[in-house]
């Protein structure tokens, strides 16, 4: 069983002091895969966030490279297009010293009709250590994890979960507020189709935040009122008194009469602008997982205001949070062998 020292390389040369302290701590990350925010517990999340904090310092140094994952192979398997998540995982792997391979559906045999499981078995034979998957079907990451011998990291499965996004969001919030417990967080927009929302709801509630969902009824799951959240269809009421307003990305083709009547109507009632934001708590911070539709779900005026917006921080935290996840999973692999 994986107990005791999780990291076999305490006191990395080149690592910032804070990071070294965390690396020397004794804690375990007993999971082989990173599939869902609901798999984690509060202690694991706290440790991951501490570790990620250390990596933030490392990433701000001139020399960003460690060899915690030296000799390891990280495969990025992205069936859906992604710029920031894929490059974030790629950088995280490279900075930790792993060999990184990027696979995309256009260049893989998936386009030739191979099933997900066949691809997994093929890739598994190449002995990767860490497999990062994004797929348009809910549950794809879980299915893959049952068929391979390495660690699987869910980088987004359909409308289900995106747990590293929730981790980086938690990291951004903890650094901005010094805590997460007790924060009032409004998650606004297309909750229905959002894996980011589902992972965030689970993680934020575990960490003691109060979560609200805001959006038109067509974009909020019908059963969301059973998730121990408050649901609002009036945005001003929904973000009233909130410390964090987390906007979600909208697919524009859903805004043309399908889930909402038009972009202009959506912006009128659910777009975040100064006037609506004024209803939130003083010191409110705005988040967005990107990419943004300016003028549809968020006004540029708000998105670009560094006194309010955490959007750029989120991107930076993304690399650090993923480094923390990769490090913890690799340590578990070490203990297994």
């Amino acid at each position: 069983m994986a107990t005791g020292a999780a990291y076999d390389r305490p006191s990395m040369s080149g690592a910032p002091t804070g990071l070294n302290e965390v690396l020397q701590r004794t804690f375990s990350f007993p999971k082989r895969h990173f599939l869902s925010a609901t798999d984690l517990n509060e202690v694991e999340v706290a440790n991951l966030l501490d570790l990620a904090d250390g990596f933030v310092s490392l990433n701000r140094q001139t020399s960003k490279k460690l060899d915690l994952l030296k000799g390891r192979t990280l495969m990025n398997l992205f069936f859906e297009n992604s710029t920031r998540t894929q490059s974030s995982f790629e950088l995280a792997g490279k900075r930790l010293g792993a060999d990184v391979v990027n696979m995309s559906p256009r260049s893989s045999s998936i386009s030739k009709g191979e099933t997900l499981i066949d691809t997994a078995v093929t890739l598994n034979a190449m002995q990767p250590d860490l497999l990062v998957i994004r797929h348009s079907s809910s549950g794809a990451a879980s299915l893959l994890s049952q068929k391979v011998g390495c660690s699987v990291i869910n980088a987004g499965d359909g409308q289900h979960e995106h747990p590293t996004q929730a981790l980086l969001d938690a990291l951004s919030m903890r650094r901005a507020f010094g805590r997460i417990a007790g924060l009032k967080v409004a998650i606004c927009g297309d909750v229905l189709h959002s894996r980011v929302a589902r992972s965030n709801i689970a993680l934020l509630q575990m960490l003691g935040a109060h979560v609200r969902l805001v959006g038109p009824p067509t974009l909020i799951p019908a059963a969301a009122d059973r998730w121990n959240v408050e649901v609002f269809h009036d945005m001003r009421k929904g973000i009233a008194g909130c410390d964090v307003v987390m906007m979600l990305r909208l697919q524009l083709e859903r805004m043309d009469g399908v889930m909402a009547p038009s972009q202009r109507e959506y912006f009128r009632f659910f777009g975040l602008d100064r006037e609506k934001l004024a209803h939130a708590a003083p010191g409110v911070r705005v988040m967005h997982p990107g990419p943004m539709n300016r003028g549809v779900e968020i006004d540029s005026d708000v998105a670009d205001d560094l006194a309010v917006s955490l959007i750029q921080d989120q991107v930076e935290m993304g690399v650090a949070a993923r480094m923390a996840v990769l490090t913890s999973l690799a340590a578990r692999l070490d203990n297994e062998r």
Binding site: P216, P217, T218, A222, H233, D234, D256, G257, V258, M259, A260, P261, S262, R264, E265, R268, F269
Partner: protein
């Protein structure tokens, strides 16, 4: 616009909202009801006030008709907002809700705004638009329900066109609910109703008319009620006309579904046999039903199951009606005949007067959150003085409407509007 203060003296006040029915008087200043005096002793009044001696006739709240078509914008040869306003005033109707199936369709806020501005300029009766539920009333993509709501539309509907796609209808219901906007829907199975000019039965068979089974209404209604239940939205069942559908509706209401049913004065007053020798003025949508259905609908109004009666005013000029039956346009004008046709059920002793008046005053006002429909201090001065017993013979050619397609042509009824007041302004008077 404040007209000269008015007082209606010596009238029989009938106000369904409060349940009052008795002698009284009403004083109107600045467009609102300044005082309601049960018993009718007005005491000393200022000389500025125009006192109307009602001669003991009936004073009721101005009628509210929530399903009116005009042809404006787009089909002004049928009816304009002005000609419809005049017809309404002559019929004692002080508020009309106009349907969105104009050209352009009322599916975005600028068309709502156009209608409201036109109505303000015309200054006859109160006009509120209903917005389309879907873009172009095509049943595929949601219209700008929220923006239209803000612009002043009272509910959304695709008017005569059923929204076939259940997913679209579900989204419309749940989206509209966020704005507390009711959704009106005509229950008619589109495939069964396609091309129909009459209701299936012995009559349609003998006359050789393309027909729709009455059950087409129930089939669609069951879907609508189920979706209203699951979304919690406010559904207006637009024109219930069959016994089978009423049975479904009653069950749903007992279960707590937030639905209100209307029916049209035409379906209360006529049955399929009135089509007679292919009278196209009796070609309606939904088509006229059997006598059993008509009786069931009257019963539903009497019991309060159907809360609102509409004229379903649908002007069609002669060129659209002087055609072979199945080529003729459906619909009937009804603004001017609504009140006397309604009073028929009072004169027959079928339904108490106060209950009849409620279906066209306080009930629609309550359904749509309108300030009128009642005679109370502070309410808008929308009032009608009526002689409920005066005999009239409906002469379609003498109707004020631009189109004369009235199935009531030649019918002997009782009830004559003497004076119609909107916001304290007299818009019609034969006194």
């Amino acid at each position: 616009m404040s007209a000269r203060p008015l007082a209606f003296a010596n009238v029989r006040l009938l106000d369904p909202a409060s349940g009052f029915d008795g002698p009284g008087a009403v004083i109107v200043t600045e467009g609102v009801i300044a005082d309601v005096v049960p018993g009718g002793d007005l005491g000393a009044l200022s000389k500025d006030i125009e006192v109307i001696d009602g001669g003991g006739k009936l004073l009721i709240p101005g009628l509210i008709d929530i399903r009116v078509k005009t042809g404006e914008p787009g089909f002004e040869t049928k009816e304009t907002l002005k000609s419809a306003g005049r017809a309404a005033a002559a019929g004692g109707v002080t508020t009309i809700v106009v349907q969105p199936d104009t050209s352009p369709v009322v599916d975005e806020p600028s068309v709502v705004d156009f209608i409201l501005r036109r109505a303000r300029d015309i200054e006859l009766v109160n006009v509120y638009p209903a917005g389309a539920a879907t873009k172009g009333a095509m049943g595929e993509r949601m219209a700008e329900i929220g923006l239209m709501h803000e612009a002043g539309c009272l509910y959304v509907t695709d008017a005569d066109r059923p929204i076939v796609n259940s997913k679209v209808f579900q989204r419309v219901l749940s989206y509209a609910k966020a704005f507390d906007t009711p959704v009106a829907h005509r229950p008619a199975d589109p495939w069964l109703s396609a091309g129909a000019a009459a209701t299936s039965g012995e009559f349609a068979a003998r006359m050789g008319l393309p027909n729709v089974p009455a059950i087409a209404e129930k089939i669609m209604l069951e879907r609508d009620l189920a979706l209203a239940e699951v979304t919690g939205a406010k559904l207006i069942v637009d024109q219930l006309t069959t016994a089978a559908a009423l049975e479904s509706f009653e069950r749903a209401v007992k279960r707590g579904v937030n639905a209100t049913a209307t029916t049209s004065i035409n379906h209360l007053s006529f049955n399929e046999l009135d089509i007679g020798d292919y009278r196209t003025f009796c070609k309606l949508d939904p088509p006229l039903r059997s006598e059993d259905d008509r009786q069931a609908v009257i019963e539903a109004v009497a019991s309060g199951l159907i809360k609102v009666i509409v004229s379903a005013h649908a002007p069609a000029p002669a060129e659209d009606k002087r055609l072979p039956y199945d080529e003729a346009a459906p619909g009937a004008v009804g603004l001017e005949t609504l009140l006397p046709a309604l009073l028929a059920f009072h004169h027959e002793g079928r339904i108490p007067l106060i209950d009849l008046v409620r279906t066209v005053t306080s009930a629609p006002a309550e359904l749509l959150g309108l300030p009128g429909g009642r005679i109370a201090k502070g309410a808008p001065a929308d009032l009608v003085l009526v002689d409920p017993d005066a005999p009239v013979v409906i002469d379609a050619d003498k109707l004020t409407s631009k189109s004369k397609n009235s199935p009531f042509d030649g019918r002997r009824l009782q009830g004559k509007v003497l004076r119609t007041v909107v916001d304290g302004r007299t818009v019609y008077s034969v006194l």
